[in-house]
Symmetry: C2
């Protein structure tokens, strides 16, 4: 999976002591996406814009803020997180590779 | 620092249990580069193609295979590694962000 005709930002984003690392791209239309890797563990992220998390390799589970339901997500699937909210994501075993698109 | 009009590969490259993570881009001319983050530690990488490592944030030191000289590299500087060789890179303190260009 790849994105063509984008601008790639060189400096990465490092979260949770490097357990989650992403690099940002901007599409020709100006949309921002981040391409990231999540190492095994459990992490909480807050959102400003709404976002779509697409799992491209590995798997994870997530719980949206305000929910008690844990949802399993396999590679090839995605989930949406509302704006001004957040989610807890858990990865077991292999690193989870994702694309995050900001809406 | 950014690269425009590139193709970005979504799946990242994970080395040393995630202590080094990069994402690859292809330029319009077909050149491959990786945009990466190195967490503190010491790592050895082998090369097939020759490569240029440009440090864009943070700092590191490196020793080329066959050399005993450790060279410090600050952000904004780069070093070249010959083909079919390798280097040991050491990062202290803050994560080191780099662009690796394959020649």
């Amino acid at each position: 999976m790849e994105f063509s005709n984008v601008t790639a930002l060189v400096k990465g984003n490092v979260y949770f002591d490097g357990k989650v690392i992403s690099h940002a791209i901007l599409t020709a239309e100006g949309a921002k996406k981040t391409l990231g890797v999540i190492l095994p563990g459990e992490y909480h992220f807050g959102t400003e814009a709404a976002e779509i998390m697409e799992i491209v390799e590995g798997s994870c589970s997530y719980v949206l803020d305000g929910s008690e339901e844990s949802v399993a997500v396999a590679a090839g699937s995605s989930f949406q997180v509302p704006a001004n909210s957040g989610f807890t994501i858990t990865v077991d075993g292999e690193p989870c590779h994702y694309v995050c698109s900001f809406l």
